[in-house]
Subunit: 462 residues, 2 copies
């Protein structure tokens, strides 16, 4: 019976007749038999398969079964006399599907740098580390859906192609069906968008929030989980041009409810991954960052710190640290400030709330003081901001004023304003950068190593 | 205690003290009290709330609580003496959040055409039909994730921005950071892509299949579920410029395994929606298409018909129907042919296999006959093709020949070919148009009514 290697390693018993399929990771030839480690991607660990020399075509077969080759093996499980595994498979019938020439196959047993592996986007999922990353990524994604679905949230698909700019900021990619060699121009020297697919300028979305608000004001609780884009020319280990975001949006919810949900959400996802990917997480803790397990357990078992921006500024000012950037009420927190709060002062996730209005987006709810908005950022040790959220401005007149104050045209936001005109309610939501979460979970330092096919300046291969 | 209306309608008991929140759907004033129907999007049905005139500010409150207004109500559940509901809520405390001016709020009680509602993308989720559509859409999506996760498939995020064209066909949107007013040109009159974000032409993906193959050849079983794009200038009820696709890909799998999975998959999703959205499905059956329940049950309980393209051609030729398009071996099946097979001849989903090589994509596995490829299309009554899949060509030389034969350059597919060079295995997969599935499920005739924010020629509002 065909079995996943993950299941065989966990549940397989001596004398069971099974079949597995997979790719050779290593080969060790010995007198009278050979050991091959086989992996099918279902688990980090390989299944050890013993090939006795009595097998038909043994010599030729072993010669051809090099690292990377694919095969199917039928045989019987036996208790393993060797160290490192409970059971092993004694091969009886072998089908070799595809070879991998050891002279040219790039993934030989030695370790490769992540930088080198990025040039092999089509093969790197076959390595231990990237394999573990993508299994953890899948577990995170599954946990996210489960968390929201159990609470009655609808997954809503907000548009990728958009004609509006969520925050009135951020560099956006243009989407067009025009021929770039000959972009039609109008008489007044502008682009003739009437000939473009959508009849006007169109972009790749930077956030599904505004459309998620539409859906929350019909279904109460919704979330998005999809790709978003930034055409920012940042060639760093922290930025991607294409990344996945999770954006829940809740009607009849204020900032306290928003923070409660965000904290429960992070705890749930970490708990889920600890339970479902224990082998992969142990691997990250051993090989990548020896604090990931402690961090995960810290998140699951402790309440997050909550303090206002004003309190955070006071804490920073009274610390004996000298910061590169000024600490002053009204200025945004810089990465060094966020790290000080989360890594040094509190040593756990910190929720900073009630930021000055002038450094936050127009849609955040203005407080009674007229100075701050009901925003919150969750700062995590090592990662910095992992979640940003707010209660939304639900008052029509205030929202219109805020849009104008930021130099934006309310007419563009007609439908967003309509949500306040007809049946408006207090509502709130947050955004989570999914790759940041996977980085946080695994300890991987470069964001390009937690998404299968990273897009960044000058890089869109595969 | 705050409750979802869906839960109250299902489990609420007389004498329970509860709170609900939502939007007014209808108001009926009577002597001494008023009835308001409240909806929070969690269910199709409304909760009837009785407002006795003893409430503080009763007259003013009822005057302001028009269709579309938002409120919170606390009170006690009572058995309903009226028809149409088991229980109702007797209001004790009411908070009005937001009014909806009856003179301007567009969603008054009368029925609106779907065409009109499309101009109100920000409000139409609050209508009965669109509400039911998006709940069913969410249930379909959840069923899809559950189906694959239970079987050990990884959800993989394939790139949206791509520099390759999956099928060497199809109109693609260009993605650029260049200023369309002044696109830089090289001396030889071409676009100077060195100044563009990715340093070369980039597009929105039409399929994640090729990248899903990369992942399947590391993890054995994977699936994509994400947005895909076509810049096709088709202003029809069947086409979208942006739509969601589900694409499983399985290593060590042939066309039979592919068909088995596709059939099990469709049955699972239909069964799940019948169980979890019974109220919404009954609504579609009554109001939209009185065959949707029978169709769903037919799919769940009957084996799909499987026949080869060659057999299908023979069936079409011997039928007494006169078709507009020619029926001849080597020509593609047209919509009228597909409908005849699925709706008239077999009256259930039909899987047509083994199409002529020349009408199918290069990556489909060439059969021994040298004439056909191991492709399969699942044709559904009313919808036509709902799934298209194939066993992939895993033989390096054959694949190279097929790429060349279609006038494509193998160099562009270097990494795709590498998958056949190193550890190649038989593998297969299929693609499902998610919106087509939701249409099939709900009976909605226009595809723009099953996605929250449809994108089509000259249309990218919201």
């Amino acid at each position: 019976m065909m079995r996943r290697i993950a299941d065989v390693l966990k549940q397989g018993q001596p004398d069971e007749a099974i079949e597995v399929q997979g790719w050779v990771r290593t080969k060790r030839e010995s007198k009278g038999f050979s050991f091959l480690e086989i992996n099918d991607g279902s688990a980090l660990a390989n299944l050890q398969v013993v090939f006795p020399e009595q097998l038909p075509n043994y010599v030729d077969l072993i010669k051809r079964l090099n690292t990377g080759a694919s095969l199917q093996v039928a045989g019987v499980l036996v208790a393993s006399p060797g160290k490192g595994q409970r059971i092993e498979l004694k091969a009886a019938t072998v089908t070799l599907y595809g070879e991998a020439d050891p002279d040219s196959y790039p993934l030989q047993k030695k370790r490769h740098s992540f930088e080198f592996l990025r040039t092999l986007g089509h093969l790197r999922p076959r390595t231990n580390t990237l394999g573990a990353v993508f299994r953890v990524r899948n577990a995170c994604a599954t946990a996210i859906h489960q968390f929201f679905q159990q609470r009655g949230f609808l997954w809503v698909h907000t548009p990728i192609i958009t004609t509006s700019d969520c925050e009135g900021a951020g560099e956006m990619f243009t989407v067009t069906s025009l021929d770039l060699k000959q972009v039609p121009q109008t008489e007044t020297q502008g682009v003739d968008y009437s000939q473009d697919f959508f009849g006007r300028p169109a972009y790749l979305t930077v956030s599904g929030q505004l459309e998620a608000e539409i859906m929350a004001l019909a279904f109460t609780n919704v979330y998005t989980f999809g790709p978003t884009f930034r055409a920012e020319n940042s060639n760093t280990s922290r930025h991607l041009a294409e990344f996945w975001m999770v954006e829940p949006e809740m009607a009849f919810c204020d900032l306290e409810g928003d923070m409660d949900l965000a904290e429960a959400f992070l705890k749930y996802v970490f708990q889920y991954v600890l339970e479902h990917c224990s082998e992969d997480m142990a691997f990250f803790n051993t090989r990548i960052d020896n604090s990931v397990l402690a961090t995960a357990e810290n998140i699951v078992s402790h309440e997050f710190v909550r303090l206002t921006y004003t309190e955070a500024i006071a804490q920073l000012q009274k610390s004996d640290r000298s910061f590169e950037y000024a600490v002053e009420w009204g200025l945004d927190l810089q990465s060094e400030h966020e790290r000080y709060l989360a890594e040094e002062l509190f040593q756990k996730p910190v929720i900073v709330t009630d930021y000055p209005a002038q450094i936050k987006a127009f849609y955040m709810r203005l407080s009674e003081d007229g100075q701050t908005v009901r925003a919150m950022d969750i700062l995590a040790p090592k990662i910095g901001e992992i979640i940003g959220g707010s209660q939304r401005e639900e008052r029509l007149e205030v929202l219109e004023q805020r849009i104008r104050a930021q130099g934006l045209d309310p007419a563009i936001y007609w439908w967003y304003l309509d949500l306040r005109r007809y049946g408006t309610v207090p509502h709130a939501g947050f955004g989570l950068g999914f790759e940041r979460l996977v980085q946080f979970m695994t300890g991987m330092t470069n964001i390009r190593d937690v998404i299968p096919f990273p897009r960044s300046p000058l890089n869109a291969e595969f």
